[in-house]
């Protein structure tokens, strides 16, 4: 028994601006929420990028005084926090929100209102964090934005060392935001396990759905320890507890363990969706079925499992026992095996394929190259003696930017170019897309490649300036010039989005001749997604319809 609001006359009056605002605020539609997630993430991406630009401007030459040390501390804290929590997380949840129901033939997520609640918690959490720029100083006269780094090591976060409320804003903003992520994680797991259309067994799910399932499980496991640690820190700061106060009998190492028990799985929470996007895009643009689907699934599950047991490699410099170091060195190296399987399978999909280098494929190929470099330097860092040499240096900064920018952001752009026609009904401009790719690819390598060298030369991360006699000048200048090239690339993207929304070529339902269910409905999809719930017989249902003489179900 349900209560229905009948629209009556289907020809509705065009809503006013306020009406449209209300429509978006009150929506429980997974597609609208997906768009809101991604749009908010992209806005925060521009803000985080601006913060990075200011830091690189400061570091372009030795002895620069453009920024004060405390401003620099706030900038790297907000940049890291923004990019991880307010860019990576919302975009991956947004894409999952939009496309998981479409790919499994469902009309919405399992709990649509909880989905809306999750988005608004994330949104307000982000606003609360940035309100620290005004609130922390304006109301208490102490500090401004948080300045303790994105992993907020104790005891620097204790009240003795971090006066005012800037660190409290960091705790509370992320706490609220992480509640939203947990809510969406629950929603995704339930949806994927219970709402698949007829015929879609687990081994017939698109890889995006598989990867988001594992991703949501990781969110459920990794986020609560962070929330617990943040509440403990809040108790330390506001109620005089001593969880992380060493002088009061607490343990600073406890914070590191709790944070990185969240923090390293978080890297995989961010990168698994990147794997998902390229796993969808590469087969379509190579005109081949994905190579080794069962192994891709097994590798995903393995990565999810192993990623929960590697966090101590962030703690090698603490001086733990050789036994502990050796175990976590081994587990960290172990994760290279399923990741390597994925790399080989993507390349295996490309081999012998009829590759079309449209913009989504260009970005996917860029992802393969850059993520490979980030992965290899990750294996280098898993070796304890090497980690000791370069720990907390720019080598590490270069490494994780190759993973998270080269890996995640390049795949996000690939996903945007791939699914933009489905979401908006219009194609993005190919020429502008290619300009963006090459500028971003060049600028990225110019920025983050030299960081490996400056790190090997001993430049620590998070210093606000340096002397001219260290041999770091050239590498820092190159990194800063690279940022300018990247800005040009991002400008092409913004221009492309605005231009394509207004004048983009009409996309039609299936502009890429693709195979998953989202391409069987109109672009943009109607509110109910599918007029009739589809039934599938293989992993590529549209292929089966397009090629009845040679359907996939014969081989699966």
């Amino acid at each position: 028994m349900t209560t229905l609001d009948h629209p009556g006359n289907p020809t509705r009056i065009k809503p006013t601006f306020l009406g449209r605002m209300h429509e978006w605020i009150a929506t429980a539609d997974h597609k609208k929420l997906g768009v809101m997630y991604v749009t908010t993430g992209l806005i925060f991406f521009l803000i985080g990028g601006l913060e990075a630009t200011m830091m690189r401007w400061q570091l372009a030459v030795p002895g620069s005084t453009l920024l004060s040390p405390s401003d620099f501390n706030r900038l790297f804290t907000m940049h890291g926090t923004t990019m991880v929590f307010l860019v990576g997380m919302p975009i991956l949840l947004g894409v999952a929100n939009y496309f998981v129901p479409l790919q499994i033939g469902a009309r919405d997520l399992a709990f649509p209102r909880l989905n809306a609640f999750g988005f608004w918690l994330f949104f307000f959490g982000g606003l609360l964090l940035y309100f620290s720029y005004f609130g922390a100083q304006g109301l208490y006269g102490m500090g401004s934005a948080p300045d303790v780094g994105w992993f907020a090591y104790a005891p620097l976060t204790e009240r003795t060392y971090s006066r005012g409320h800037s660190t409290d804003y960091w705790i509370l903003g992320l706490l609220v935001s992480s509640f939203g992520s947990i809510a969406t994680g629950i929603n995704l797991i339930t949806t994927i396990l219970t709402m698949r259309c007829r015929g879609m067994t687990l081994m017939k799910m698109p890889l995006l759905v598989w990867l988001m399932l594992i991703d949501a499980v990781l969110i459920m496991i990794a986020m609560p320890p962070l929330a617990a640690a943040q509440v403990m820190l809040l108790f330390d700061r506001l109620l005089g507890a001593h969880f992380f106060d060493v002088q009061g009998g607490g343990s600073a190492i406890l914070w590191q363990n709790l944070f990185w028990f969240f923090g390293h799985p978080e890297v995989y929470i961010l990168i698994l969706p990147a794997f998902a996007y390229v796993s969808e895009i590469i087969p379509v643009f190579c005109r081949k079925v994905i190579f080794g689907y069962p192994l891709m699934v097994a590798a995903t599950v393995s990565i999810g499992f192993i990623s929960l047991g590697v966090w101590v490699h962030h703690l090698f410099a603490l001086g733990l026992s050789p036994m502990v170091n050796t175990i976590f060195m081994g587990s960290t190296m172990l994760i290279a095996i399923p990741t390597g399987i994925k790399m080989f399978n993507w390349v295996g999909t490309m081999v012998g394929g009829k590759i079309r280098f449209d913009t989504p494929m260009l970005f996917s190929t860029g992802f393969l190259a850059l993520f490979l470099i980030g992965g290899l330097t990750g294996i280098m860092l898993s070796v304890v003696p090497f980690d000791w040499q370069v720990s907390d240096s720019y080598f590490v900064v270069g490494h994780f930017h190759y993973v998270l920018f080269g890996g995640l952001v390049f795949s996000i752009f690939a996903a945007i170019y791939y699914w933009f026609p489905k979401v908006t009904g219009r194609m993005m401009n190919e020429a502008l897309g290619k300009w963006q790719f090459w500028l971003l690819f060049l600028g990225f390598n110019l920025t983050f490649g030299p960081m490996h060298v400056s790190g090997m030369l001993g430049m620590p991360r998070r210093i606000y300036t340096y002397h001219a006699d260290r041999g770091w000048d050239l590498w820092n200048l190159l990194s800063s010039i690279g940022v300018l090239v990247q800005i040009a690339g991002v400008a092409f993207f913004v221009w492309n989005v605005i231009h394509s929304l207004r004048k983009g070529r009409e996309a039609g339902a299936d502009p890429w001749d693709a195979w998953t269910l989202e391409w069987s409905t109109a672009s943009p999809p109607p509110d109910y997604n599918f007029e009739e719930i589809p039934e599938v017989y293989s992993r590529r249902p549209l292929w089966d319809i397009k090629h009845p003489d040679d359907p996939d179900w014969k081989y699966e």
Binding site: D5, P7, E23, D29, F123, L234, L238, D510, A522, I545
Partner: protein, 280 residues
């Protein structure tokens, strides 16, 4: 999604959860509760009230009935064009130049024996170097042990020439494990080398392995690196390669099932099927 959706194609619209501002209000309330901690307690009170209002509205959205709206079908129903034919299949089995699968292999036992023989030959050369260079056969043993015993890296040549039980045990274990593993690898890889197997076993692999060890030890443990005579090191590796190749290549070869038919692999006996075990 309801079962009705699937079965009734003549329905007027499709039911979906009705829009509601309850999640928005509730989330805003929760955020204000937390924001009050760092601003003013009144903010938390407002947040609490908003949270309760949102929760009550949410409650009414789902109880007693799940409130839904019925959306009209907009008529945009794309057609998927059928394009039969034109599907090319990759012929992987007909591309032998891309994969060399041996029809005959050495038994794994040959690799183990080769590893043992190579390990003995290598130890003899290393012992000769120790005797010639430092008048002690324990010198190379201690250096091997020093790769996992950091204290040994700081000892001088005289100290390294003496007997150390721990270094001997660890050195022996490391040497035995490495020799067996590399012997096994030789046993597996050698049949796949089309030509110049002796050159591969006794020249190419020793040189590559020496280069890898030299480059990495210089970074990982430069002090230890200074104690090693790399020309003798190459000699010991060549001795290993020669001995291992000799033992492995003299072992009896056994046929693989790579070119058997499925019937032969499953052990079916039938007229027309060749005798079991044939690989010709």
């Amino acid at each position: 999604m309801t079962s009705e959706d699937r079965t009734n194609p003549n329905r007027e619209g499709i039911e979906l959860p009705a829009p509601t501002s309850a999640p928005f209000v509730c989330a805003f309330g929760v955020t204000l509760i937390f924001a009050g901690i760092v601003t003013n307690w009144a903010v938390s009170i407002v947040g609490f009230v908003l949270g309760i209002v949102g929760a009550i509205r949410w409650w009414h959205e789902v109880l007693p009935d799940n409130r839904k709206e019925c959306l009209p079908i907009d008529g945009r129903r794309p057609t998927i064009e059928v394009s039969p034919g034109g599907v090319a299949h990759l012929m992987t089995a007909e591309s032998p130049h891309r994969a060399r699968i041996p029809l005959e292999i050495h038994p794994y036992g040959a690799g183990v024996k080769g590893g043992i023989a190579g390990g003995i030959a290598m130890a003899i050369v290393a012992g000769v170097w120790g005797w010639v260079d430092q008048s002690s056969i324990w010198y190379p043993v201690n250096i091997l042990g020093a790769t996992v015993l950091p204290d040994f890296a700081h000892e001088n040549a005289t100290q390294l020439a003496q007997w150390h039980t721990a270094a001997f045990v660890l050195g022996l274990v490391i040497h035995a494990c490495m020799s067996l593993m590399i012997g096994l690898l030789y046993g597996v890889i050698l049949p796949m080398i089309p030509r110049f197997r002796l050159g591969f076993a006794a020249v190419a692999v020793p040189l590559i392995w020496t280069g890898l060890a030299w480059a990495s030890l210089d970074i990982i443990n430069p002090l230890l690196n200074q104690q090693i005579n790399w020309w003798w090191f190459i000699g010991s590796q060549v001795a290993f390669g020669l001995a291992c190749w000799f033992v492995v290549s003299r072992s009896e070869r056994i046929g693989t099932m790579q070119n058997w038919s499925m019937l032969e692999r499953t052990g079916m006996e039938s007229p027309g099927i060749r005798e079991m075990g044939g690989d010709g």
